[in-house]
């Protein structure tokens, strides 16, 4: 099934197809494609159904993640307000 969207709040854990997806440390960081530019990024953790670490990624918009055999694309990384949490929004691509 494609087209699913999920928005995950910073410091929380979503469950996608049995995998735990964590989001933390949303912040402005140097864009690897352009060292003169900063972009919002987030640290996304992926843990499979047995809670085995499937690798953490520091992601920004358009980065892709494999989750439980499906591919998801980062469509937005929100910094949040000054005191609140940011978020990451993912859309399933295949």
């Amino acid at each position: 099934m494609t087209g699913r969207t999920v928005r995950i709040e910073e410091t929380t854990v979503a469950t996608l197809d049995g995998w735990k997806i964590t989001v933390g440390n949303v912040m402005l960081a140097t864009d690897p494609a352009n060292p003169n530019r900063k972009r919002p990024t987030a640290v996304v953790g992926r843990y499979d159904a047995a809670k085995a670490d499937q690798g953490e990624r520091d992601v920004g918009v358009d980065d892709r993640l494999d989750i439980a055999g499906k591919q998801w694309r980062v469509v937005e990384v929100g910094l949040g307000d000054k005191s609140g949490n940011g978020f990451v929004e993912l859309v399933e691509t295949r």
């Binding site: 995950i8 910073e10 410091t11 929380t12 049995g18 964590t22 949303v26 640290v43 005191s83």
Partner: protein, 380 residues
């Protein structure tokens, strides 16, 4: 017969009759017939009168010296929890004497007095990040002692979900580490699919006081895409998964009006230790004391059975350099952690992430001061 060391003076016994014959049955004379036999039977020594012990409930206790003892009052079970006496608990050890029950008609279910007492009243299951969460039943038990658990209520039972209530679940896990009995005492299984969770919540008229507040919830929990949306079920038992974390989270959400209202950014009461004990916890900044003093404070707290949680720096209090370093160290900013262990010799601590993953083991006390800006210590 006198009692050795009796405190009361001995009663005067009637003086034996002088020359009273011994009570002895005369030798039977078959020639005297039935009336004689009846007479002999009347003279047979009677069985001794049973003196009830003080614990008999059928009558007043009687001392061996013959004086009746005043009826003992039942001892009230001492309430060891801090604060006002909580609601009656399920596992009371005081058992009244069985009394014959008169036949009664089938009991009529009493109407709940308030919404908090009505298990049919559920908090709004949605939140900003789980707008489609909907209730579904999860049959289970309050707690399960699984392999690796120190107690049935164990920090490893805590797994946060898609709700920004890390402050809440981190303090539950910290309390589960130091005093699981305190959590066990909060929850009563009503035996009909509902549970009474008693939280010590701020009195509306006098918010500096906490009042034990029983909140009745059922075992329906918000789900998203087929699994629990927020706090997860714990260990699996023979009759289902353990629910204590989900039950307490739901009770607080019910009291607050919705799950959305217990997000960290919206909650009106962040002192979960206080909710569990009835006494406000103590908060301070790790940087307010040096590393040595901090280590000593944490060591003492754990030794005293006091739960401790930490709040990582927020993005407003951490500059870009600290934010980048936190990322490298695996510290999740804006997040809460539970203290599991202090190694005073190595000057490190073990911090548990309420996610259930990405914990910080052997984390130096210097880094604790660098990346955390609050410590909460529960009352004893």
């Amino acid at each position: 017969m006198a009692i050795a060391n009796a405190k009361k003076p001995e009663p005067k016994k009637p003086a034996p009759l002088a020359n009273a014959p011994a009570q002895k049955a005369p030798a039977p004379n078959p020639a005297q017939g039935k009336s004689y036999a009846a007479g002999v039977a009347a003279l047979k020594p009677k069985p001794p009168v049973k003196i009830p012990s003080p614990t008999d409930t059928l009558g007043p206790a009687v001392h061996a010296n013959g004086y009746p003892e005043p009826k003992h009052k039942k001892k009230k079970k001492k309430d060891n929890t801090l604060g006002p006496t909580p609601a009656p608990q399920q596992n009371t050890t005081v058992t009244p004497a069985p009394q014959p029950k008169p036949p009664t008609a089938a009991p009529v279910a009493a109407k709940p007095a308030t919404p908090m007492q009505d298990p049919a009243v559920n908090p709004d299951p949605t939140n900003e990040y789980a707008p489609n969460a909907a209730y579904a039943k999860t049959a289970g038990v309050v707690a399960v002692k699984a392999e690796g658990d120190e107690h049935a209520i164990d920090p490893s039972d805590v797994e946060q979900g898609a709700l920004g209530d890390c402050y809440f679940v981190a303090q539950l896990a910290a309390q589960a580490k130091t005093n699981p009995g305190r959590i066990q005492d909060l929850i009563k299984d009503n035996g009909n699919g509902t549970y009474t969770v008693t939280l010590h919540l701020k009195d509306k008229a006098q918010p500096w006081k906490r009042v034990p507040t029983p909140i009745v919830v059922d075992s329906q929990f918000p789900q998203k895409d087929g699994s629990a949306a927020y706090a997860k079920p714990g260990d699996s038992g023979s009759t289902g998964p353990e629910l204590w974390v989900m039950l307490i989270e739901k009770a607080f959400a019910k009291y607050s009006g919705s799950y959305e209202q217990i997000r960290g950014s919206k909650t009106k009461d962040g002192d979960v230790f206080g909710m569990m004990s009835g006494v406000e916890s103590r908060s301070f900044s790790p940087a307010s004391m040096g590393a040595d003093k901090l280590l000593e404070t944490l060591t003492k707290a754990l030794a005293n059975g006091q739960a401790v949680s930490f709040g990582a720096k927020s993005k407003t209090s951490a500059d870009e350099t600290v934010q980048n370093e936190a990322k490298t160290e695996g510290v999740v900013l804006n997040h809460a952690y539970s203290l599991l262990k202090v190694d005073a010799k190595a000057r490190t601590v073990d911090l548990r992430n309420p996610w259930g993953v990405k914990h910080l083991t052997a984390f130096s006390v210097d880094k604790l001061i660098k990346f955390y800006d609050s410590v909460d210590v529960a009352a004893k």
